[in-house]
Symmetry: D2
Subunit: 389 residues, 4 copies
């Protein structure tokens, strides 16, 4: 027998039985290809990403909240303390509002006649259906909420979503529903929620329209960029791991990963990259887009710590399948963690990064070294000793 094989476990699953728990099925029968990736994802998440005080950032793309995954999976993960910060498309946050506002979505079909749907005032997201009024009412909710005095200024999106979440939470309470909305839960749990494209959704659209009236609300994109880098930098400089849990790809994937180049490449502060990388996607690598780019490619950019590349997992499957499975697994296998409430320390970590940047950074070209050997002690925050090549 080749000695190569000895490094790997034998592949001999037990027969599937009735009434199996999700976690037992995954451990017992998901042995190869994307099934194995999904099992590895479950074990990476429950075993390494949330071990100790490890930080977990989640990025969300694809129409996940319309599919009910906010309520079924993401809120439970947040409440269990397994998601510490979030980058989402605006659309996922906008459609999250429908749930928080008690509106009705329907599990429909992808094969309806769209011209008739348009005529009937029915909106379709693949097989999810809802009335056009759901959009109009949600839009009005956003416009009315942001008339509040606390919104009359420029702010980062985490702050904006925190403030908006309060309104959603209140509406939930008034309606007697609970744990339906990601934004409401994030407000309660102090989970910062960013969007990388603040204008790109009906939330941003309503904010923009109101700016044509007298609204003073505007988004501070620079703060978003620096704040997300600050969250990662703070964790890494305190010796914690930083993990990314990427659902889909797109701009949020880039935004959650670029925190490391922001620290290293732009700010000139030495760092090694995120520790663990877990992605569920239908994107393929060969067409070159960032959505399908592998963790290996991310290593070449300094986004991922090269030492942990073997632990990185990409599971090519629809998030509507993988996310419920991972959620059920992790909730079964790991004890809940106390929510970190990163939102509460947003100014402190920002200031910490700013100070470090003002010490190391330069307008001129950044000197660099890419020493990929493991540092002896500590993980980060050491001085840059690189020399220009």
């Amino acid at each position: 027998m080749s000695s190569l094989n000895k490094k790997f476990p034998r592949l001999l699953p037990e027969p599937i039985k009735k009434n199996m728990r999700v976690c037992d099925l995954i451990d017992g029968a998901f042995k190869a290809y994307n099934g194995a990736r999904l099992a590895e994802a479950c074990r990476l998440f429950s075993g390494k990403m949330i071990a100790g005080e490890g930080l977990v950032g989640m990025s969300l793309t694809g129409a996940l909240t319309p599919a009910g995954l906010g309520r079924s999976a993401i809120v439970p993960l947040m409440k269990a303390g397994f998601i510490d910060w979030i980058i989402s498309t605006g659309a996922n946050l906008y459609h999250d509002l429908h749930y928080g506002l008690g509106m009705k979505l329907y599990a429909g079909s992808p094969t309806l006649d769209d011209v008739e749907l348009r005529r009937e005032g029915v909106i379709r997201i693949y097989d999810v259906l809802f009335d056009y009024d759901v959009l109009l009412d949600t839009d009005a909710f956003v416009r009315q909420a942001i008339q509040g005095p606390e919104f009359q200024r420029t702010m980062a999106t985490d702050e904006f979503h925190y403030l908006l979440g309060k309104y959603v939470l209140e509406r939930e309470r008034k309606l007697g529903i609970k744990e339906t909305s990601m934004l409401a839960a994030a407000h309660q749990l102090g989970v910062p929620v960013f969007t990388s494209s603040p204008g790109d959704s009906s939330i941003g659209m309503n904010v923009a329209a109101m700016a044509l009236r007298d609204s003073l609300l505007a988004f501070d994109v620079n703060r978003d960029v620096n704040q997300t880098a600050a969250i990662v930098y703070d964790a890494k400089s305190r010796g914690l791991t930083s993990s990314v849990f990427i659902l889909g790809g797109g701009s949020p994937k880039n935004f959650i990963l670029q925190t490391e180049p922001q620290i290293q490449e732009v700010m000139g502060i030495e760092e090694r990259g995120h520790d663990y990388f877990l992605q569920c996607t239908d994107a393929r690598p060969d067409t070159g887009g960032l959505s399908g780019a592998t963790p290996g490619e991310a290593v070449s950019w300094g986004k991922i710590d090269p030492d942990n590349l073997p632990d990185c997992v990409v599971c090519y499957t629809d998030s509507t399948i993988s996310l419920p499975l991972i959620t059920a697994y992790v909730l079964s296998k790991a004890a809940p963690r106390k929510p970190r409430r990163l939102y509460d320390s947003r100014d402190a970590v920002m200031e910490k990064l700013r100070q470090q940047y003002l010490k190391k950074g330069t307008v001129e070209k950044v000197a660099h070294r890419t020493d990929v050997s493991k540092p002896k002690r500590g993980r980060s925050g050491r001085s840059v000793t690189g020399t220009k090549r």
Copy 2:
């Protein structure tokens, strides 16, 4: 609210909890996109396909047995009486032998150096690894088995696999292992196993090499074509439903579906198509291949009964994820059925089809009518009254 929406259930999943059973998670949280398709697949299978005496044919492509899915999922489904007949690629049957012969496969990695694997004598199927000796030993097993006198003739592949299954079953018993091999289980349970491409695998390769010596074993392709049509025709003419459970696509998908055109288009016998269609695949429809062709397209060919098109399900996901989930669901939700032992009546159903064909068929162009209105009584076997257009 648009009346269109009223036809569909509200989309409002409950939060996922720890220790959930697979069937509860699927019913509770798989609400949209391929997640919803998977839930529909589970309910179609457990609720309609195996209802009453309904016949279920399974087609297998993709390297499923190397992934351990023969032992974990397919054998349990067969034992529960949920799979009545099978079309498989030769490769899935060949690699099934490794399990039945007690050989070792390993859950490896897709990123190994293949030139080194070649040098080391390690074979790779994506992330499944095994020694080259596994191939050589399995090959020798096939060659030795088919030297038996019962193999010295031309036969259909269901007969060949039945005979070969006996040797595998004996080897399993000798080794003290059980329920590891699809072929052994099929032998025991009387489940006919066909392959649409008898030369296209190491089984066929060894049979072909031995034919250069003195072996008389050869495959009767014509019988395979007619026998599979006979299985479907017999069921439909007795008023039973005929369902297809397609894993992957490829030649086995075509072969299991072409049974209906064989009856209607080639033999001139009136029929309406299979009743239920369930496919798990990664193929996409837009590139035109049969693997990704939709049930709708199959309706245009007469392969699927148009009345049941709304019940047809295609779940676009890796079978290593969908098959364990569907298996766990169906075993939990449906009572086992007594195995039908279709193999035992192979000559009888063949003769029944032959008689009908000799009555209706012609060498000349077949007259046809495509009356898609539901027949009043009975399902099939009525005279062709179509007129040539």
Copy 3:
């Protein structure tokens, strides 16, 4: 023969010959599946989208400029007057800078060892390679450019890119290279270039870092949202067609399409949607994401005019294949148009939309009607007569 078939052309291509021109091959041999979609895309673009004064917006995702498509395809299309405005990911604009700054990228391989690349200071985008210094030098260029006094304020991204493009153009001239950069060409031609996620790229990262110093540059997201809607509204209200040419999907796809809901759903101004929709993507519809959402789905949202749905084309193929082919076809078949220089009228169209919005819009819920029947005269700008359902 069924009368259904008569509506379609016979499928009987001529044999391919040596030395064929691209446009002849596409017209002659691309007859089914995605090949046919690509041919339809070419004819839609050259025949309808750029007919008359029709407006064409392009959205860019995927790593297209690293693949050289800025220089080879996008700049030539812009110069021919076939692209009037652009939404791009930040990454495509950042990597465009490398070309404009005369830096070197390499046509490498996707199978290199990323840990070694990291050690060597080589960055990889699938199979495109370049030195880490390319990033560091480009970053320094951005930081130095934005120190100019014209950047010391809040501005929309079209304005920012226009100003930055001037620096790139100057650098090109200094280096004696030309037509290498999209941003430089956009500056010259007055093509507005937006990004939907201004912080999400190394451009945004450097802007954000500089904001920690004394830079006053910030992005006006609200203006981006309203400005893009204003471009579409102005065209439609003048009776011009508005077309979208979507490369990839992601946030830029949403941003270019949401202009119509911004007008209708948020601002309460009656409109019918974009006229022509052309997308080249590898995203699939069944996983529910916006990237793979079909034009039909967009009709249900009012993003696309239902009357033109039959003309909408989605070609599922890698943009590195489709974009050069479409470019070669369109340049061969259509006469160049005078660049529209939309950038020059940015304030005027913005003011026009603002006036209309202040007339029609409301903070309360927008009344709506979804009358999909074709208006008799004119296309838009009529008063909203809808009643709340």
Copy 4:
């Protein structure tokens, strides 16, 4: 600059111009991702695969002949001497008959109502449409042709297709059409055409039905397996290269590749694998199926010569796009070759392999060595000196 980059060409394409030839566009603008793969495929085919006397086998899956690619691309490649032998799905050969018999197919749409199509007697292959009569008439043609005395025996599929091709050619001539059918062209040019699944298509279905009457026609699967191996063995033992050009994947991909394991693993004859591997497919590797398996994986099986792995190309794109492009490129760049007429030497090469097998082969386990170092002289046919591990 990293020395790693120096190994690769600079990526700096020229602007696309009007009226470009296909080959110039591909060389000039296809620089990364699948675009680059397509360009590499073109150069591999025109530069290496058909260099000298190199043998080229093509495998065909996906509905290519319905898309007109038989007439537009495959027949021209055959006539130019660039395709020496073929493995096809039965479906591609069956639908090829429609063209040879002068029947009408239509370039339709994928969004028609299939229940109505069924009612109207229209068959749909994604967006290709034709009358049900096309099937019925083609079926009758097959049944009538195989009544000829030359068909009254068991034969391999290459022989069957050669005989059937004669009838198609005659029909073409009678109808005054030419070069419309692959089977007719193969008959004329002596190109052997095999199918790996002889029962799996309407051709096989009609052959099977006729066997229920008095037809003696049956398929010799063993001969197919050995004959294809003999073609490869003969070429390799004469020092020629053997290349595979794989369109799609499926059973034909496996069948064309398994020729090498048939020689090495089953017959015990030393060989190194095919020399060049070129695949155009939409299958993905990560789901484990053979369709998407990489050339690297094939090296681990001995299917591909490890020394040539860097030359292997997989282009992930729809064959309706890639095949016309490759055809136009190769016809422009390479001089036609004299057709090899492999069909004429089918018995001779079979006998050569048989003799070698009877010398080296064994019923027992094959001894092996996997010496991947390049042999000094000649390529094959040397004695097996391996020792059992």
